[in-house]
């Protein structure tokens, strides 16, 4: 209740950014000699024309939800987590390692994978958190470095311990029991690559919202994010909260890694930083750092990613247009402060005009009465 007004405004701003992004895409389509109505028709149709496509959209969105939550959560404490990609890699590595090592029944194995990736991601991000708290090392620098440490660690560990049967550059396929794909869900969405990760994502959206809005932990994290000095003077341990916030952000990204490498995919490739880790920043931005906003933004991006191939197949519009739309939306979401300011100005101007008009009218009415 207490943040209703704010949420509504953020929501409008995000919608506005999306609208402007689509508009820019439309202009590009026209410029390249295509019909934007056809383009958007096939873009959105490609993302949701049948149950399989919808499943793919959700499957595509799942790691994005986690990556977005990760960035948004850290941001609430005033921290900029750019290490989502590395944390996803480590989460994915933990998940893959557990999946390839243990021969347990599926429910137990999946549970182990969830906890393993959560803890792996958390520890990976706790280190930059500690460096920030203890030595005031900026988290942007340290998380980027951690990304590359993760990248090269995978480069070594996967070929050394989990090498696939044919290729040096990827791990073995994880067994059926370790995959988040389940037959009933796959067949429900007629063969799409949706997996249990989407439920996990929804659960963690709820948990994140709960932590931020309802718990003393969330209260402390946000207090530190908004005003370190006041939080410290009130007896809140700033350092503890910085480490905690980074750990939670890392845990979320780690889970995202699990849903990506043992859900969406079924093996790990070396030499790739998952782009979702960085897309998470855009998702958090468009979602105004609120868990449900992140959820919606991730699904929207998932939709664009899924639909762009179809658009390309059905029209002459290159798939890069979809990427351009995403980029433009990010741009407008980032400049939403400007939009917001102008928004206020327009409203004020209109209110002023109305007031003047009303005043004039009463004046005229008054002088009319005198006559």
């Amino acid at each position: 209740m207490k943040t209703k007004v704010r949420v509504k405004k953020d929501f409008l701003m995000s919608l506005f950014a999306v609208f402007l992004g689509l508009l820019a895409g439309a202009i590009l389509m026209v410029v390249t000699g295509n019909n934007p109505f056809d383009g958007f028709y096939y873009l959105f149709r490609g993302g949701m024309m049948n149950i399989e496509r919808i499943g793919n959209t959700l499957g595509m969105a799942t790691p994005l939800i986690f990556a977005g939550l990760s960035v948004a959560f850290a941001f609430k404490t005033g921290l900029f987590n750019i290490g989502g990609a590395g944390q996803m890699l480590i989460g994915g590595l933990c998940a893959t390692a557990i999946g390839l090592t243990f021969d347990w029944p599926k429910p137990i194995l999946l549970l182990a994978i969830v906890f393993g990736s959560l803890i792996g991601g958390a520890l990976w991000a706790a280190l930059p958190g500690y460096l920030k708290a203890r030595f005031n090392v900026h988290e942007v620098v340290s998380t980027i470095m951690m990304n590359w440490i993760a990248y090269w660690s995978i480069f070594y560990i996967v070929p050394a311990y989990f090498k696939g049967p044919f290729l040096e550059t990827e791990s073995q396929r994880i067994p059926e029991a370790a995959s988040m794909k389940v037959p009933w869900l796959t067949s429900l969405f007629s063969g799409s690559y949706i997996n249990l990760g989407i439920f996990l994502a929804i659960i963690f959206v709820v948990i994140s919202a709960l932590i931020l809005e309802k718990t003393t932990l969330g209260y402390e994290l946000k207090a530190v994010g908004y005003n370190r000095d006041a939080a410290e003077a009130a007896g809140i341990s700033v350092n503890r909260n910085i480490i905690l916030s980074m750990s939670i952000a890392g845990a979320l990204a780690g889970l995202g890694g699990a849903t990506f490498y043992v859900g969406y995919a079924s093996n790990m490739q070396i030499g790739v930083l998952p782009s979702q880790g960085f897309d998470g920043i855009a998702v958090a931005l468009l979602g105004a750092n609120s868990p449900w906003g992140v959820f919606a933004a991730a699904i929207f991006f998932g939709l664009l990613h899924t639909g762009k191939g179809f658009m390309n197949a059905m029209t002459a519009i290159p798939p890069e247009i979809a990427d351009t739309i995403i980029a433009t939306i990010i741009y407008f979401a980032a400049t939403s402060v400007l939009i917001e300011r102008n928004w206020d100005r327009i409203k004020r101007f209109r209110a002023g005009a109305l007031l003047r008009k009303a005043k004039k009218r009463t004046l005229e009415a008054g002088s009319g009465g005198d006559q």
């Binding site: 718990t215 003393t216 005003n227 006041a230 009130a234 007896g235 005043k359």
Partner: protein
């Protein structure tokens, strides 16, 4: 058209979300007068002047200068129209010289080079003409606050301003500097300038202004001739009720010495000893005032007591326990409360709502939370009660963002939070800084109330009047050392003033 008014503002209306800052205000200034604009914090006086200076655009209303209608769309136009403003927070570049600051934005050039010498000569001349005594080549970072203010004044004069707006100019000055400023203002008037003085200090208005316009809650209360009014009447116009100037204090009932500071030494941020071997005790039921010029170790002392700064040596004893190594929260649990001098930095989280701010120190305790979950209903209830008890005026009640409150109400919210926690020891640092008469009176009453209830109050203030009015005993600090400790009843402004300058009691006798 009435040509005798240099400035005439008609039916000015300005609204911010949730408040009408200026409600159809009419305001006229005569040529050559010092016109005071009086009102409590948040009454709308700064907003009105920001409109005149072009920083805000009004929703409605007209501005006339010398009888001609003008549209002040931005401060540059205001400059062109001969309106200058000295803001409360100076707008100076610290590593520039006085001259460089003054010519910033309209640098005179000769053959593509800035012609500093001509500018400097002109500044010297202006400085002499108005008795400002400013060295044009001094660096801003090396001159005093009072001198910086004169640079701001010179900046206006250099731009040929005829109408000079001063926004709370004395808030940052020592009593001597205030006297100097008044002299300068008079010489400005003698040279034909017109001055608008935004203030809430009645004494200054009585001393220097010709006329005074009072604003309350965004509405015009009236304009009066200063020679025909009194401080009491002005205060009543400003606050809307009678104001008690005298502070009534019952006799102190002293209890145990609950806070004992023993031989405390603390490093300052620069690495030197900011506090040297400092000892002081505060008993239950008394207010001990700590007087001193700013920057003489007060900040180090306060931060050491509440736990934000580690100590070099010494003891901080609360109830017989040495708390000098305790974290902040443990000290709060021991009954320590703190009203900080910088309410935006240490007092409030501006992006939090009022209700969230009011539980900043006890959100983790029952009943506000249980097993890590906050109880928002109770937090809101608690906020409503504190808002009522401490007369915090917030547009949207507990849900208002702390940022939207006026300074006085933010301070009341902090005082409310600290006192409502029922502390044993209250450390009040500049508790009325930048507040208006109504809020000052209120907060002083609350501090006395704490004392009468048997709490120990340590009052640290740069306002000597405040220290003298409230304290039972007065300690004076200079260069991080305790100069002396006297009974408030047995001393006076002069004696404390000397001690503040570092002269020990009896040394002159």
């Amino acid at each position: 058209m009435r040509l005798d008014y240099v400035v005439e503002m008609r039916e000015i209306r300005k609204e911010f979300p949730g408040v009408v800052a200026c409600d159809d205000i009419n305001f006229q200034v005569k040529k050559g007068e010092i016109h005071a604009l009086l009102g409590e914090n948040g009454a709308g006086k700064s907003t009105l002047m920001n409109i005149l200076f072009g920083l805000y655009q009004p929703e409605n209303g007209e501005i006339y200068l010398h009888g001609k209608k003008v549209n002040v769309a931005n401060p540059n136009i205001a400059n062109d129209l001969g309106i200058g403003m000295v803001h409360q927070h100076f707008k100076l570049v610290h590593n520039f010289t006085v001259t460089e600051n003054i010519i910033l934005g309209l640098e005179p050039t000769r053959a593509m080079m800035i012609d500093i010498r001509t500018a400097s000569a002109r500044i010297s001349k202006l400085s002499k003409q108005y008795g400002l005594n400013v060295d044009p080549d001094a660096k801003i970072s090396e001159v005093s606050v009072g001198m910086q203010q004169r640079v701001e004044i010179l900046k206006m004069l250099y731009r040929d301003a005829e109408i000079l707006i001063f926004d709370e100019p004395t808030a940052v000055l020592t009593p001597q500097e205030v006297r100097e400023l008044m002299k300068i203002m008079r010489s400005l008037i003698d040279e034909g300038k017109t001055i608008i003085l935004i203030t809430h200090k009645l004494r200054e208005i009585m001393a220097i202004a010709d006329r005074c316009t009072v604003i309350r809650w965004g509405k015009l209360v009236g304009t009066v001739k200063v020679s025909e009014t009194t401080e009491e009447k002005l205060a009543e116009m400003m606050v809307g009720r009678k104001v008690l100037f005298e502070i009534k204090k019952k006799e102190a009932h002293l209890g145990e010495e609950i806070l004992k500071i023993e031989n405390l030494s603390v490093l300052s941020s620069s690495g030197a000893l900011g506090l040297k071997n400092f000892s002081l005790g505060v008993k239950c039921g008394e207010i001990v005032g700590l007087a001193g010029v700013d920057g003489n170790g007060q900040a180090e002392l306060v931060e050491a007591i509440i736990g934000l700064r580690s100590i070099e040596s010494g003891k901080i004893i609360v109830h017989g326990t040495d708390v000098s190594s305790f974290p902040v929260r443990e000290r709060i649990k021991k009954g320590m409360a703190h009203i900080p001098d910088d309410r935006h930095k240490h007092g409030l989280i501006l992006d939090y709502t009022v209700q969230e701010n009011l539980v900043l120190k006890n959100y983790y305790l029952e009943p506000f939370s249980r097993r890590g979950f906050l109880n928002w209903d109770l937090i809101q209830e608690h906020a409503s009660r504190v808002i009522k008890d401490f007369d915090v005026r917030a547009g949207e009640g507990p849900d208002s963002s702390a940022r939207s409150l006026s300074g006085g109400n933010q301070q009341k919210a902090i005082v409310g939070r600290e006192i409502d926690g029922n502390p044993e020891i209250l450390i009040a640092v500049q508790p009325t800084r930048g507040l208006d008469v109504g809020a000052i009176e209120y907060i002083h009453r609350r501090l006395i109330e704490q004392r009468d209830q048997g709490k120990a109050v340590l009052l640290i203030s740069l306002e000597l009047d405040e220290i003298l009015d409230l304290s039972d005993r007065i300690a004076v600090i200079n260069s991080g050392e305790l100069v002396g400790l006297v009974n408030a009843a047995e001393t006076n402004e002069n004696e404390i003033g000397l001690m503040m300058a570092g002269v020990k009691r009896g040394a002159t006798a």
